[in-house]
Amino acid sequence: ELKVEQNPLFLSMQEGKNYTIYCNYSTTSDRLYWYRQDPGKSLESLFVLLSNGAVKQEGRLMASLDTKARLSTLHITAAVHDLSATYFCAVPPMNRDDKIIFGKGTRLHILP
């Protein structure tokens, strides 16, 4: 059964600092999604990573995928307060479109 683990689950950091959130998954998959959730709100799609070595960047966020290591990272560069949110990675089982498995989420709190 596919399991998805994120770490850390909670991160408090200063503005201007860099940090990385890690997402490990237990069985083969060909895609990985990163979502952002603000408190009380729904999930907003950030990145879709489709292949080994895929790297995508949007503003201060950069996501990468290593399918061989079953690892994705979400790197935050020079954090700003507006990035405070909970970030989820999600992985679908290989060749299946019935559901995607979410990590528990990383709650990111950026101090001004």
Binding site: S42, L43, E44, L50, D98, K99, G103, G105
Partner: protein
């Protein structure tokens, strides 16, 4: 293009009652997924509907059920409500396999269910 919509935004029920939550997918999307996000438990997959049929369900008891209508909107019913059913219920939609962008799921704003 309108996104996924859900109603109601908030729902307050008492133990033993039934709750009905509704979801309208993005136009052209045929698959609807339901997730439960309880405090501290992350997102748990509940149900998947496609073309009017239930295709898969997560590890939830039978009192969680639903259906998908011909217009692809969906309804989630929770019978015999228990306190631990209090959660944010999220609906997501996806287009036909291989046709929508990256086959990703797009989420609605959610329904906050509180069971007293």
């Amino acid at each position: 293009e309108a996104g996924v919509t859900q109603s109601p935004t908030h729902l307050i029920k008492t133990r033993g009652q039934q709750a009905t939550l509704r979801c309208s997918p993005i136009s052209g999307h045929t698959s609807v997924y339901w997730y439960q996000q309880a405090l501290g438990l992350g997102l748990q997959f509940l149900l998947w509907y496609d073309e009017g049929e239930e295709r898969n369900r997560g590890n939830f008891p039978p009192r969680f059920s639903g259906r998908q209508f011909p217009n692809y909107s969906s309804e989630l019913n929770v019978n015999a409500l228990e306190l631990e059913d209090s959660a944010l219920y999220l609906c997501a939609s996806r287009g036909l396999w291989g046709t929508s962008s990256y086959n990703e799921q797009f989420f609605g704003p959610g329904t906050r269910l509180t069971v007293l």
